[in-house]
C-alpha cells in the first residue's frame, strides 16, 4: 500500500485516538513487538493489537515477521495526506492575514 493510495480521512481518524497516536509516536523511535509496546502503556495487549491493526490499515505502521515474532515500525511517509492538509492552511492563513491588514487600514481609528 503506497501513501498515495490512502485517503487522509483515514490517517486523521487513526491519529485522532490519543492512545493510537502514542503508539505511533513510540514506533517512530524504534521497531517493537506487541509486548514491547504493551510495557509502556496501561492498556491490554489485545487493545494494543487493535490499535496496531488500525494503524496498519491506513499505512501508518508496517509489520515485519521474524520467526515467532512480529515487529512493528512507524511509516512516517503515510503522514503525507495530513501534511498536505496542514500545508493548505500554511498558505491560507498568511493570505487571509494580508486581507486582515487591509481591513485594519480601512477602519476608523
Amino acid at each position: 500500500m503506497t501513501p498515495e493510495s490512502l485517503d487522509h480521512t483515514g490517517v486523521f481518524r487513526a491519529l485522532a485516538d490519543p492512545t493510537r497516536r502514542a503508539v505511533f509516536e513510540r514506533l517512530m523511535g524504534a521497531e517493537m513487538t506487541v509486548s514491547d509496546l504493551t510495557t509502556g502503556f496501561a492498556v491490554s495487549q489485545p487493545a494494543i493489537s487493535q490499535h496496531l491493526a488500525a494503524l496498519r490499515g491506513v499505512g501508518l505502521v508496517s509489520e515485519r515477521r521474524a520467526g515467532r515474532f512480529a515487529y512493528y515500525r512507524a511509516e512516517p511517509a503515510a503522514l503525507a495526506p495530513l501534511v498536505e492538509w496542514i500545508d493548505k492552511y500554511r498558505a491560507f492563513w498568511p493570505d487571509r492575514i494580508e486581507r486582515l491588514k487591509d481591513v485594519l487600514k480601512g477602519m476608523d481609528q
Binding site: D7, H8, T9, F12, R13, L15, A16, D17, P18, T19, R21, F24, E25, M28, A42, V43, S44, A47, P76, L79, L82, V83, W85, I86, Y89, R90, F92, W93, P94, R96, I97, R99, L100, K101, D102, V103, L104, K105, G106, M107, Q109
Partner: protein
C-alpha cells in the same frame, strides 16, 4: 525523527500590526469586518457561541468559540468537512499583545487537527477525557 505527530501538526504565525489591540480585536470579532478578510460569517465573541464562516463559496466551516478574552485572545473550534465528507476538527487561536509604539503583535495558532467522522467515538471532548475513556474501554 524527533518531531512528534502532535507538534508537526501545529501552524504558528506571527505578525506585527500597525493597529492597536482594540482595533485588531474588532477586526477579529465583528461579523462585517471578519467577512472582509475571512468570509461571510455570524461570529460573536462569546464563549460557547457557535457560528459558521465561509472562507470560500460553499465551503462552510462550523465554528464554536472556545475562549474570548477581549483585546487579548480569541480561540475557536474549526470544524471542516474534507473531500470525503468526514469532519476534521482543529482549533484556531488569535493572541493579541500591545507593542510599545501603539501597534499589536498578532500570533495565530492553528492546531490539533483530528478527525471526527460519523461513527467515531470522538465528540466535543478534550484529549484527557478521551484518553481516560480509551483506557477504560481497553481495560
Amino acid at each position: 525523527m524527533s518531531d512528534t505527530a502532535e507538534t508537526a501538526q501545529d501552524i504558528v504565525l506571527d505578525y506585527e500590526l500597525d493597529a492597536a489591540p482594540e482595533k485588531v480585536w474588532r477586526a477579529l470579532s465583528q461579523p462585517h469586518l471578519v467577512a472582509a478578510w475571512l468570509g461571510p460569517n455570524d461570529i460573536a465573541p462569546e464563549q460557547g457561541r457557535r457560528f459558521v464562516v465561509e472562507p470560500a463559496p460553499n465551503k462552510a466551516v462550523d465554528c464554536e468559540i472556545l475562549e474570548a478574552d477581549p483585546e487579548r485572545r480569541l480561540s475557536y473550534r474549526w470544524r471542516e468537512a474534507d473531500d470525503q465528507g468526514a469532519l476534521v476538527d482543529s482549533t484556531v487561536t488569535f493572541e493579541v499583545t500591545p507593542t510599545p509604539l501603539g501597534g499589536s503583535h498578532l500570533r495565530l495558532v492553528h492546531s490539533g487537527f483530528k478527525a471526527v467522522g460519523a461513527g467515531s467515538m470522538l465528540g466535543a471532548v478534550n484529549d484527557n477525557t478521551l484518553m481516560q475513556r480509551s483506557l477504560q474501554w481497553a481495560a
